[in-house]
Point group: C2
Chain length 339, copies 2
């Protein structure tokens, strides 16, 4: 065991796009577990777009990370010391340990990870928060019906790839939006999406319209911006829009110039009777059991696939995170912090 | 019986605010009912903001009125000739007769009006489409819970006044927004709203905040614009926004200048987990029976009040309609077309 705990803290609040200077790698003593606590050594660290929000001071559904504190993140850690009879050394456990190598917890708020069920990193992806975000948002708010069209952006990411695959399991048509031909090919050839559209192509709006000949009944919103612009005219009456993220605007530093498109959006809400609803995964925490049962079954039956983008070493987290906000990852981005 | 049918047709599509020149009063022969049909003489004509939308060619949930055709409107008419054994001369019937004195119908799509139950004009207000809009939108989408705060604009109008009163019947706090001190006084003193705020007052946003010390849980949206701006920062997490109208923008002729407030709205949808949903009353037509039963009961029990703004004579309809879009009516606007 190393004598020190390496961690990455917020050095400065990013202005717009985060830069490496907004993060600082530092070493602090490894904490000691108190009564009822365990010491976790981080194996897998999850990088997710929501972390950009936590780096800002703006009010949101969760408190911001303070300057000098480790960046918030869910992790899979291995128990390396235990003062809690419920956990033995070697057990794997999820925790919100943040961007660091060691973390003390009483285990509350985390869950056990069974490596015989699936690779432990999936507890941060398809079997974790991103998977449950897709599952709960799509089924509770999106409610796709057989034959309907479900569109999702960032479709090769952990949320988008699940949205499309679950939509197909429910009998709907899945249209994925992703950046570049490789990702689009992966969607149709590997994940079974009915169509994939490259949002970087100059004819993106027309291509999306062609990929949705019967319009869009569910648009799972996780990016906003130009993709939303292209989706809006294709929405059918009574379309549902679960909103779980707006990655395209996370780095915005000022209110965008006009025209003001809010009145036009509200007019469309009215005339098409749209249902737009924001959510975060914890709003549906009561469904965690259903989620784990269904997704585990689908995985075992080979009906769900996933892809991970693995970064080696905690020190690579800032660069990988900055790239993710630009769409550079291909699959669920995780950092292997220790072997 | 007059020899001719007077009607008001769309002379030109309004550009922005409608003007008297957009309408034309004309006389055509009274139509003759065919087999199974009845001839209705219009007694009451309803004027509602949605008609502004029908005067434009823009795509919406209903087809536009054609140039030269009578403006769309629901009416209460008296059967003056009948070739249908189900209807006798003297029966009262609702119909979408439009802005005219006579109309032939087979009765389908209309319903009988029982003058012993309530004054017949209420079939166009509290017991008609506006009342059912308030009832279905508030109860299905707004879902107010006891102790929550429900805010509604155009609160002395037929929809808004019902929204606030039903909210109170469900144990919620009702905050009405209206134009001018007379209307505000009416809301609190006559209708029992918990608070009323004048949107014309210079300190309107601050006054609204003071009237909603625990924030807003349901905002029943029927106006948009500056009222929406003042409501947004007061919305609580998980607030619901049924959207049934956007009167403030019905006369808009161009996309408003920037900044673009759409991204900020979507960010608020996400961080506050708002539920925004457009609807029209016909989406809930299956609940017409529940609506009539509940509202009739509440009326008989004296738990609901209403106010009508009666205009005398068909020829006054254009002027009254133009004024309504500026908030000049006080109560449900109806035209008495015949005695």
């Amino acid at each position: 065991m190393a004598a020190m705990n390496r961690r990455i803290v917020l050095a400065a609040r990013p202005h717009g796009e985060p830069t490496p200077q907004d993060f600082r790698l530092e070493e602090v003593p490894i904490p000691t577990p108190g009564p009822g606590e365990v010491l976790l050594r981080t194996k897998w660290l999850s990088l997710d777009p929501y972390m950009r929000g936590r780096m800002s001071a703006a009010k949101s559904y969760a408190a911001p990370v303070e300057i000098g504190d480790p960046i918030t993140a869910e992790t899979v850690g291995e128990v390396v010391a235990s003062n809690n009879p419920d956990y033995r050394v070697g057990d794997l456990l999820t925790a919100f340990a943040g961007w660091q190598e060691y973390f003390v917890t009483d285990g509350k708020g985390g869950r056990r990870v069974d490596p015989s069920e699936a690779p432990p990193s999936t507890a941060l992806g398809i079997l974790g928060m991103p998977g449950m975000t897709a599952y709960t948002g799509l089924l509770n708010i999106g409610q796709p019906k057989p034959g309907e069209t479900v569109a999702v952006a960032a479709a090769t990411g952990p949320v988008g790839s699940m949205v499309g695959q679950i939509a197909r399991l429910k009998g709907a048509r899945a249209v994925g939006i992703a950046g570049g031909p490789d990702k689009c090919r992966y969607l149709t050839e590997e994940l079974g999406f009915d169509a994939a559209v490259d949002h970087r192509a100059p004819d993106f709006p027309e291509a999306l319209a062609q990929a949705c000949p019967k319009g869009i009944d569910v648009y799972f919103e996780n990016v906003g911006g130009a993709v939303f612009d292209a989706v809006l005219p294709l929405l059918n009456d009574f379309a549902r829009l679960p909103v779980c993220g707006l990655v395209s605007s996370y780095n915005a530093t000022e209110v965008p110039p006009g025209p003001d498109q809010r009145p036009a959006l509200l007019r469309m809400v009215l005339t098409k009777r749209l249902h737009i609803q924001g959510f975060i995964v914890w709003d549906f925490r009561a469904q965690a059991g259903d989620f784990h049962r269904d997704v585990s079954d689908w995985l075992k039956e080979g009906r769900l696939r996933y892809r991970e983008d693995v970064v080696e070493g905690l020190e690579k987290a800032p660069e990988a995170f900055i790239g993710m906000l630009k769409g550079r990852n291909f699959g669920k981005l995780v950092v292997r912090v220790s072997p």
